[in-house]
């Protein structure tokens, strides 16, 4: 095996992992606080990507400039979804939330199919095709930007959770629901806020992914199993874990694609997922 090919695969894998981290951080927050699996995560990402796409095509707003707007919009969407639908309809049962978010993802994906049709759309911005030499690999600039942004996003979330008043309340609810309620925290509101923040991350992720990716109604499915794998791998609710998990998964996908070929290479992620669920369901970093 040629060292340059291997090196390039490693670099591409890490960059891929950066993209995955963008999607997984929000999921790990929701998972860590609410202890639920948000099956609609992929389809909400898809929705955000269409948002970023139409902001560029119709309003000529550059995806990177649209980040604040999309973050706010997706936070509002997540908050309202939790308050109006998920929290109300689930009767407090985890499995119901899983089923509701499955229903939600089916609806969102097919509503998107209805309005946007099935073809995938890509955008062109001045920097989409710019390549940067990085050791043995030539990588697209947008991928490098999204990798850096994933680090920033993880750090920002960790800071928010550790240092702000809302963050303290979120941690309290995540650790001990009843206790948090007893000291006067509005637990339902914190759930909705956490869900909103988790979905807001998708707003940023969508803007960062779209310059180097495509969008189609089913694009979210690409990320669903991957993001779950990362979250379980990294340990629920851990941002650093999600980042490391994402890099491991990105590397796995890139290297197993290299050694096993395109078709069989995808199996690596599902196998890791099964093994981690069986042997370390609390994640590799938890004792």
């Amino acid at each position: 095996m040629d060292a340059t090919i291997l090196g390039a695969a490693v670099i591409n894998g890490l960059l891929l992992g950066g993209s995955y981290a963008l999607v997984a951080v929000g999921l790990t927050l929701i998972y860590g606080v609410l202890h639920i699996i948000n099956f609609a995560h992929g389809s909400l990402l898809m929705l955000a990507m269409y948002g970023a796409y139409y902001l560029l095509v119709k309003a000529h707003i550059d995806p990177y400039a649209a980040i604040p707007l999309m973050v706010v919009a997706m936070f509002a969407a997540g908050y309202v979804l939790y308050r109006g639908l998920i929290g109300r309809f689930s009767h407090g049962k985890d499995e119901n939330i899983l089923l509701i978010t499955l229903g939600l993802s089916i609806v969102l994906e097919n509503v998107a199919l209805f309005f946007f049709k099935g073809d995938s759309q890509t955008i062109t911005v001045s920097y989409s095709d710019r390549m940067v030499a990085l050791g043995p690999a030539l990588v697209p600039l947008p991928k490098l930007v999204s990798f850096a942004a994933s680090l920033v996003l993880c750090a920002a979330l960790a800071w928010f959770i550790a240092r702000t008043e809302t963050g303290r309340a979120i941690r309290a609810v995540a650790k001990e629901r009843q206790g948090a309620r007893l000291v006067g925290i509005d637990v339902e509101k914190i759930f909705a806020v956490s869900y909103g923040i988790g979905i807001a991350c998708l707003g940023a992720a969508a803007c960062l992914l779209i310059p180097s990716f495509y969008v189609s109604p089913s694009v979210g499915n690409l990320f669903v199993i991957v993001a779950f794998t990362i979250v379980v791998l990294g340990g629920m609710g851990s941002f650093a874990g999600a980042l490391v998990g994402a890099l491991i998964i990105g590397l796995t996908e890139s290297l197993s694609g290299l050694f096993l070929g395109e078709a069989l290479g995808q199996i690596g992620i599902s196998l890791i997922f099964i093994l981690i669920l069986l042997f370390r369901p609390t994640g590799i970093f938890n004792k």
Binding site: L99, G103, S105, V107, E109, G261, I267, L277, L278, P281
Partner: protein, 315 residues
């Protein structure tokens, strides 16, 4: 036990093709019974035993590929192939269950691992040579009941009727048997069930094998009806979701829930297909129904019938 309902349903189902003779009507009947079968298969694990699965397509695809490969590569007749498919489905069900339950996976975690297994099977069949890879497998046309390729659709109708009736018969038996009672105990409170002396691990493996076998029968039937299978269709998340939707919307843990769910969903599917060009409209309705059912009618549509009966009984 009231035998009037199953007897009346069976009589109606037997008579249906003589009343509605068009190809469209027969095909509609086949679809209703087909989804009732795989919905019931899901229901036996997900409803009766409370083991939520997001990856039941793994059994469906196993059945479809098992009978098809036996036919194409080893020259088997598809009828014994159907039986072999059930065996393979049971085996895969037992293996996945043994692995997952040995390591104590429950609830949402179990749902996720079934999804992952379905993915592994999909990717494997997509990648290896003898399953035809991504192109899928085509069963050559050889019309005749002996080849499980009926010249008339009505033959398929009665074949799937027999399979669906078998699944409903099993569901009725579960309501009356010790095994079914043990499953209900596991669903309601697994720790309490174990404290009562139920070997919860063994019962859960058994029910997954049973569910897997029924689901594989559906997969094998699907292959014979359409004479074509590919990895995405038979192992994809869409198939898993279809079974779950049929059972959840009709009513989980009930005998007739999957049949009611299948009737409604097939009706919605056919009506939207006939009246609009838009893709995915039926799925929008299915997904919304799932959310509404969980929110307002957690026991499914079958509850509406029960309420009416009770009201009648009181009056």
């Amino acid at each position: 036990m009231n035998w009037k309902i199953p007897a009346a349903l069976l009589a109606a189902a037997l008579a249906y093709p003589f009343i509605f003779r068009s190809n469209f009507a027969i095909n509609f009947g086949v679809l209703v019974l087909f989804y009732a079968l795989i919905g019931q298969a899901w229901n036996i694990a997900g409803g009766y035993a409370g083991q939520l699965s997001f990856g039941h397509a793994v059994f469906f695809g196993t059945g479809a590929y098992c009978s098809t490969i036996l036919q194409l590569k080893l020259g088997w007749n598809p009828w014994p192939g159907l039986a072999a498919a059930a065996g393979a489905g049971a085996l895969v069900g037992a293996l996945i269950a043994a692995l997952s339950f040995r390591f104590g996976l429950r609830g949402s975690y179990f749902a996720l691992i079934t999804l992952a297994f379905a993915e592994v099977f999909r990717i494997l069949t997509n990648a290896v040579e003898f399953t035809g890879g991504g192109l899928g497998l085509l069963i050559p046309l050889k019309r005749g009941a002996a080849n499980f390729q009926f010249a008339e659709r009505i033959g398929f109708y009665y074949a799937i009727l027999a399979l669906a009736a078998l699944s409903i018969g099993i569901a009725i038996w579960l309501k009356r048997s010790r095994f079914g009672a043990q499953l209900a105990a596991i669903r309601e409170n697994e720790d309490a069930a174990r404290a009562l002396g139920i070997d919860t691990y063994r019962e859960k493996v058994k029910v997954m094998a049973l569910s897997g076998a029924l689901c594989a029968l559906g997969g094998s039937f699907y292959a014979q009806y359409y004479l074509y299978i590919d990895p995405t269709v038979v192992f994809g998340l869409d198939k898993s979701a279809e079974m779950l939707l049929v059972a959840m919307i009709g009513g989980t843990g009930t005998v007739y829930g999957p049949l009611i769910g299948s009737l409604l969903l097939t009706l919605v599917g056919e009506v939207t297909r006939a009246n609009t060009e838009a893709q995915g409209l039926s799925l929008i309705i299915y997904g919304s129904l799932l959310i509404l059912i969980i929110g307002f009618l957690p026991n499914g549509l079958v509850e509406l019938f029960k309420l009416r009966w009770r009201r009648k009984a009181r009056a």
